[in-house]
């Protein structure tokens, strides 16, 4: 679709950009008094209007901007996830004691910019847009990770993030350039057409391009062995940002990786294709299966030894990337649906767990697991939801995490491939039980019920309870969410 006609299907992103420009101007021209509050409220209003525009958006039926961006139900599903995550972070930021001593007005603007990048990542269908969208997200995240200027940990996390980000996106860019060299086009569907006709020496280059692209995506979703930045960045960044990074860019990374691999390396011209296209002697499914097994094992085993709750949750987020990659080994609608379902559930439970970390930090300044002793007696309204989130992260019924994991495993079982990976996944879940339950044990079984309870912010507690509702609800009645996922997986073909 040509550029001018495309604009009407690009309204949410256009509005987001325009509102950012306006908010920057308001920000610099108003005095320092109240500017945090004004910028936050303006940004929340921008989020609301963006949500409305996303809600009324119609399907163009073909990719917009000459095939560069897909406006399909699949991308819209992820855009809703990003909107929810961003709104939750906006909501809890004024109640985060870590951030109170810094000027936060630019923080909100950076969050909006990152969300704009995430929107593009969910829709990108063109190699250039893919690279640009990842960079928009990354650069905003670098700044946000280092937002506590006086805090050495925050500085360290930002610097590590920059170095890892620059390196892995450099490698990915090289991979994308190889792909462009092979196909002669930046459009993913053209790439697929070209790859399907390649024989001979192209195979080796194709394998190199595939692996290099996987480096870039692996960095975004913190897949082992590209996960080394995760614990340090997650620990040093302000906890609100940690919560955001652990759900939104990860979901976007999965959305983009599945779209790119599903189109360019699929065996036919639709998204998702039915099977992987064989790249030389390399079976893509097996490569992803190896990465998946490594990722979940590394994440879980390293999480055991952590004493900082934030660090432990960071390794747990690495492990969860591994679980989700497990379904991505197979290329079909069922696998995509399983990953999307799990990402939606993961958004609720992981955000919830991090909000509890923020609240405990506000109250007691704790981060070590040992300091959480007896929290169940002091803050029951927070400790119980934390228990639910941890059960859900482990994958125990009757929580949504259980349902999500069942869907992930069922992809492998019904495709009759990679049995070893399914077994490894189950074993890993058992390992994860240990460190999740360790927090539970410290909260509820250690410490004495002194009878004194600590008052907590109604807003924060309310948000945590609100995030607990979907985790419990989708654990017993998940068909609405699954229905939404299925509706979002209308097969997308390029239309000409």
């Amino acid at each position: 679709m040509p550029n001018i006609e495309s604009l009407s299907f690009f309204l949410p992103e256009l509005f987001l950009t325009a509102s950012m420009v306006v908010i920057i101007l308001v920000d610099v021209f108003m005095g320092p008094a109240n500017r945090n509050r004004v910028v936050r409220q303006l940004s929340l209003a921008a989020l609301a209007v963006t949500a409305y525009l996303l809600w009324v958006q119609t399907d163009p039926g073909e990719a917009i901007f000459f095939g560069a961006l897909a406006v399909d139900p699949y991308s819209r599903f992820f855009k809703w996830l990003f909107l929810i995550a961003t709104a939750v972070i906006f909501f809890v930021t004024p109640y985060t004691s870590q951030l109170l001593k810094t000027a936060r007005h630019e923080y909100y603007l950076f969050l909006l910019a990152v969300m704009f990048g995430l929107f593009l990542m969910a829709s990108a269908q063109d190699l250039i847009i893919i690279y640009l969208s990842i960079e928009i997200v990354s650069i905003g995240s670098f700044v946000l990770a280092g937002f506590l200027k006086g805090d050495r940990h925050s500085n360290e996390s930002s610097l590590k993030y920059v170095i890892y980000g620059a390196f892995s996106s450099g490698v990915m860019l090289y991979g994308l350039s190889l792909l462009f060299g092979l196909a002669g086009s930046t459009n993913l569907f053209d790439v697929q057409r070209a790859l399907a006709s390649i024989t001979g020496p192209g195979d080796l280059i194709l394998v190199a391009a595939l692996l290099m692209i996987l480096v870039g995506f692996g960095y975004k979703i913190s897949m082992a062995p590209f996960h080394f930045w995760t614990p340090d960045v997650y620990q040093g960044a302000p906890t609100t940002i940690t919560a955001y990074l652990s759900v939104a860019p990860k979901a976007a990374g999965f959305a983009l990786a599945l779209r790119v691999l599903g189109i360019a390396f699929g065996d036919n011209l639709q998204f998702p294709a039915d099977q992987w296209f064989p790249v030389g002697n390399l079976a893509i499914g097996t490569v992803i299966a190896l990465f998946s097994g490594l990722t979940m094992t590394v994440g879980n085993i390293l999480a055991i030894q952590q004493n900082s709750v934030k660090r432990m949750l960071a390794y747990s987020s690495v492990a969860h990337a591994g679980y989700m990659l497990m379904a991505a080994t197979i290329l079909n609608t069922q696998a995509l649906g399983a990953v999307m379902f799990y990402l939606a559930v993961y958004l609720c439970m992981n955000l919830g767990a991090f909000l509890v970390v923020i609240l405990v930090h506000n109250k007691f300044g704790y981060d070590d697991i040992d300091d959480w002793r007896g929290l169940g007696f002091k803050l029951p309204l927070v400790a119980v939801p934390m228990g639910v989130f941890l059960f859900s992260l482990t994958g125990l019924p009757p929580t949504a995490g259980f349902v999500g994991k069942v869907y992930l495993f069922s992809v492998l079982i019904s495709s009759q491939q990679f049995w070893w990976l399914a077994v490894l996944g189950v074993l890993n879940s058992v390992v994860s039980l240990y460190y999740y339950l360790r927090i539970m044990k410290v909260m509820f079984l250690e410490g004495e019920p002194t009878g004194e309870t600590v008052s907590d912010h109604p807003a924060m507690t309310g948000m945590i309870l609100a995030l607990m509702v979907p985790v419990l609800l989708f654990g017993v009645y998940w068909s609405p969410l699954m229905g939404w996922v299925r509706a979002s997986l209308k097969i997308f073909t390029p239309g000409g």
Binding site: N3, I4, T17, V21, I24, L25, D27, V28, F29, G31, P32, A33, N34, R35, N36, R37, P94, Y95, S97, L100, K101, T102, A103, R104, P201, N362, H457, A459
Partner: protein, 150 residues
């Protein structure tokens, strides 16, 4: 299609070979007459007085970043200007929007005082020259404020 890249391969091999050849040639032809003065770092310039790895004022980086943005803007303006006539009104409006967004960035930098080298009167400057009359941070949320004081 790989043969299309053959000139590039030949060019890179030749350029490396030429350099090696020149180095080899001067090794056998030129007289070697080493002295301490000759092997000092700047034979024809100032003597090094200190390590180059020193701390810079962070304002250099801000200026460098601003420069970079407008440098990239120019790079994007050149190809646009070359084909401007063929592209017509749409491209003109698109480029205006692009410039507008960049100008907002310039306004923000200007207004924040990052273009002033000596920050005498900028309301939100920090450090030695700051004349802070108003607090940098506004009031925290009411329930948090009580807690911070406690």
């Amino acid at each position: 299609m790989y043969t299309d890249f053959a000139p590039i391969l030949i060019f890179s091999v030749l350029s490396v070979a030429l350099i090696l050849f020149a180095l080899f040639l001067q090794r056998i032809l030129a007289p070697t007459n080493k002295s301490a003065l000759k092997s000092s770092t700047y034979e024809c310039g100032e003597e090094a007085i200190d390590n180059a790895r020193m701390q810079f004022n962070i304002r250099f980086y801000v200026v460098a970043l601003v420069f970079l943005i407008f440098d990239v803007e120019l790079v994007l303006l050149f190809p646009w200007a070359v084909v401007f006539k063929e592209l017509g009104l749409v491209a003109f409006v698109e480029m205006l929007i692009f410039l507008l967004i960049l100008t907002v960035g310039l306004i923000a930098v200007w207004r924040r005082g990052d273009l002033d080298w000596v920050k005498m009167e900028v309301p939100y400057a920090r450090g030695r020259y700051a004349q802070l009359e108003q607090p940098l941070v506004d009031e925290p949320a009411p329930e948090m404020a009580a807690e911070l004081e406690a």
